[in-house]
Amino acid sequence: MTWLVAGLLILAALSGLLVVITRDPRRQVYALAGNGLVLGLLFLALEAPDVALSEIAVGTAVTPFLFLVALAAIATDRVGR
């Protein structure tokens, strides 16, 4: 195992921890995007460019955006009543 892969694995473990312990959902979105980016780089290091492409598009763009919009919808609902 190269140091690159080992370091990225440790980073993935830490960023996963960060996602869980960030209790405020609005901040968690950014932790989630960071986790997606780290996982994408890890998959690239694991010789899986297809998966890395998919993870970076889904994990850093689409999923965090869906979370943000869901939070916006929830905030709109809380204000509306």
Partner: protein
């Protein structure tokens, strides 16, 4: 159950499982040793059998094509479920105005943002198309390309604002893409059956290795997946965005009738 009790139960369960997990992890072959002969067989055989260079796409669209059809159906079901949940409670009418939380300032977009987003959105859409088209030769394919195209739609929203975005991105078109892609996949699987061959058997000419046209029927399946994933994620983004629009008065009352 209180949080503390749940935590205690979880810790007890994890403590009970930990030795088993450690045992399995230490018994697995070390990282970097090949464990499955199938993957190596695919690498050795498929470039010649299917005339494609991207083995991951070949596995997805040919070797486990029926399995991918199942995944495609899961995608369709999840997106349909989310759409029904959101639209069912919200109503079909579309306000063209974004909702606004009172007390939060609305900052107008800078011209630089609009310009950057227009350029970046075009480039992202082109990149997505390129990733889809080169799915059989270089990293990419329908799943990734579809998501990239859908995330290009986000940049359109960022640059143009809610009203223009709603005018550009049409729900029925996205729904048509999504369902049409799934239907195309089913047809690609069923056509060989109608000819008395196994489902998804490659009935088109295979093309040449490293060419844009390589892989025969896989190209059709790849295009079907690309259409479906683009439609699915576009529709998801649209439905969630609709949730944040200015409230109108035809929404369904909640449990307390409010």
């Amino acid at each position: 159950m209180s949080v503390r009790l749940r935590l205690v139960v979880l810790i007890l369960a994890l403590l009970a499982l930990a030795p088993a997990v450690a045992h399995v992890a230490l018994a697995l072959p070390g990282f970097g040793a090949p464990i499955s002969p199938y993957g190596q067989a695919v690498n050795a055989l498929l470039p010649e059998l299917r005339h494609v260079t991207n083995m991951v796409a070949a596995v997805n669209f040919d070797v486990r094509g029926i399995d991918s059809l199942g995944e495609e159906c899961m995608l369709l079901c999840a997106v349909t479920g989310a759409t029904v949940l959101l639209r069912g409670a919200r109503g079909e009418s579309g306000a063209e105005r974004a909702g606004h939380v009172p007390g939060r300032p609305v900052i107008p977009r800078a011209d630089a943002t609009v310009l950057t987003c227009r350029i970046a959105a075009t480039l992202t859409l082109l990149l997505g198309l390129s990733v889809v088209l080169h799915g059989m030769t270089t990293p990419g394919g329908g799943f990734q390309g579809g998501v990239i195209i859908a995330s290009g739609l986000l940049l359109l929203y960022l640059g143009e604002g809610y009203a223009v975005w709603r005018a550009l991105v049409r729900g029925p078109v996205l729904a048509l893409l999504e369902g049409g892609g799934a239907l195309l996949y089913v047809l690609a699987a069923a056509l060989p059956l109608a000819m008395g061959r196994p489902a998804l058997e490659n009935i088109l000419p295979l093309g040449t290795l490293k060419d844009l046209y390589s892989g025969g029927l896989m190209i059709v399946v790849n295009a079907a997946v690309a259409l479906s994933v683009t439609g699915s994620f576009g529709l998801l983004l649209l439905e969630f965005m609709e949730e944040t629009r200015a409230p109108d008065h035809d929404s369904v009352p909640d449990e307390e009738g409010r």
